[in-house]
Amino acid sequence: MNHLLELESLVIGYKKQIYPEINATVNKGEVIALIGPNGIGKSTLLKSICGIQKFRKGSVLVMNKKLSEYREGELASVTAYLPSQSPRTKHLSLFDMVSTGCYRRSDWLGRISNREKQLVVSTLSKVGLSELSHRDSSQLSDGEFQRAAIARSLVQESSLILMDEPTAFLDIENKIIVSRLLKEISSEGKSIIFSTHDLQHASKICSKFWIMGYQGFIEGTPEVLKEKRAFEKIFKDSSIIFDDRLFTFV
């Protein structure tokens, strides 16, 4: 079967720290929640998939093509990356911030065509920020700024979006808004991998979990993983118990 993303015996990490071998796949329209303790390598994995960071062994295939076979910049038309924290720039309008997602289709000076401008306008409307288009992006609330960052990754028009803790600094209301947005994006055929520490919230929107634990890497649907008692193997501390009913740790 042709997968959008395939990780084969992938080993990520730095010289002294090696993480477990990863074998996993992502298909079109799937939403993957990547969970695991701090420092296990969730961000490193996301960066390795979109080519920002080198990995140690194995291979990453995006649309059946190895990362090394992509020309410089070509991968950006297939994968989009949303960092856990984007710096805020004063005096940069929301429209201009989101337009940077069209980087690869802009001219030598970074100007975008009317078609791209329309795309930015419709995407801002999709994330519910069309009225703030001319607002200074540095003055947006955390929730608005995160939706703007999602809009920026959407206008990149890539098939796979990688998000590093997209709901980490958000209140409940904004978490729900972002969750709905992720569902909507996936229903349009885009695939999403997002890292999170919020299992409850993730279980409501993801089709699969990727668990990075100290005992290895496991992938599966929330139900299957629950049956396998996979969540209980995430942490070193055995006193942390996974509550099936609440779908969270207690």
Partner: protein, 341 residues
């Protein structure tokens, strides 16, 4: 705050008006005050006393062009450095370019006397000093480029640049300690900066170097806008940060190196002007901000030169003194307002 783009043209025109006003004042003020009518006559080939024409054409116009070029070069260079390092206090000299130039010039002026030798006069011309400064700046840039290729983070490069600058300054201090008092005075005069005394050939060389630097800077605009969003995001868009860094460093050397070579290390313009432009234009998009910074830089430098002429017949103030008086309040304002890039 709403950032609508409609009034940018009005702002550009306002800055250009100030530039014209200060340019005329700059041409008018000096040891001899020249009225506007005679300035225009001298420039257009009309009726004016010969000595006035000589002062305007041979002294003040070259000085004005030098100020325009220096202002544009230092400001555009400072803007790129602030974006590259996402640091509001970065300036054209943050990577040690001026210290490199300083070492080149100090070796030329003081190196010989430090070792008890005398230097022939031919090397101590403007062009000789400029060449020494240029070689020093280029040497530093080559070292920085080699290091930049191996570093992942821009902030590490920033720290390396500051350390390299400090090390070179230490060598310069040693040379100052060992040199004769006349050589030391020549060197100190160079560090004070000067926009005067360039002949046509020197102006052409300076203009060519600066124009090349500006062309590269304009080609950097697209990537500079993305770099505002952070290194990881830029990399995810397929931007080769090492190449972008190299292009910025090469343009910085051409711009700041040319100014330092011909005018000495003029401070504060490169750090303050990008902030003044951001305050006026309220736009961080480099497509708007870079031309705005170039215009504001030219205006500020000409204004500084005009102020340096104010004592009239008594003396002309060193340009670094005046640029500091303009730049320091802006820098203090940045610190108080904790202004982000």
């Amino acid at each position: 705050m709403n950032l609508k783009k409609g009034n940018n043209i009005f702002k550009y025109l306002a800055v250009i008006s100030f530039l014209l006003l200060f340019s005329l004042l700059d041409l008018s003020l000096g040891s001899v005050s020249i009225p506007l009518r005679e300035i225009i006559a001298s420039l257009t080939g009309g009726e004016a006393p010969d000595y006035v024409k000589a002062i305007i054409i041979e002294k003040r116009v070259p000085e004005l062009i030098t100020a325009l070029l220096a202002g544009i070069a230092l400001s555009v260079c400072g803007l790129q450095m602030q974006t590259l390092f996402r640091n509001p206090l970065a300036d054209p000299y943050v990577l040690g370019i001026s210290s490199g130039s300083g070492l080149g010039v100090s070796l030329l002026i003081m190196g010989y006397s430090s070792f008890g030798l005398s230097l022939s006069g031919t090397l101590l011309t403007n062009l000789g000093v400029a060449a020494a400064a240029w070689i020093g700046a280029a040497g530093v840039t080559i070292v920085i480029l080699l290091v930049a290729q191996r570093l992942r983070e821009n902030v590490t490069l920033l720290v390396f640049g500051i350390m390299l600058g400090s090390a070179l300054s230490a060598v310069i201090t040693l040379l100052q300690y060992l040199s004769s008092s006349s050589s030391l005075k020549s060197y100190v005069m160079w560090t004070m900066g000067s926009l005067t005394g360039l002949d046509n050939n020197e102006l052409w060389i300076m203009a060519t170097l600066i124009l090349s630097g500006i062309v590269i800077s304009v080609l950097n605009i697209k990537d500079l806008n993305i770099m505002l969003m952070g290194d990881n995001y830029a990399k995810s868009l397929g931007i080769n940060l090492v190449n972008v860094r190299k292009r910025i460093l090469i343009s910085a050397t051409l711009l700041a190196g040319a100014v330092t070579a011909f005018c000495g290390p003029i401070g504060f313009i490169g750090i303050a002007v990008p902030h003044i432009s951001r305050m006026i234009f309220k736009n961080s998009d480099h497509k708007v901000l870079m031309p705005a910074t170039a215009l504001t830089g030219a205006t500020t430098m000409v204004f500084a030169d005009t102020l340096s002429q104010l004592p009239g017949q008594l003396l002309t103030l060193p340009v670094n003194t005046v640029s500091a008086l303009i730049g320091v309040p802006v820098i203090i304002l940045i610190i108080f307002k904790n202004r982000n890039i």
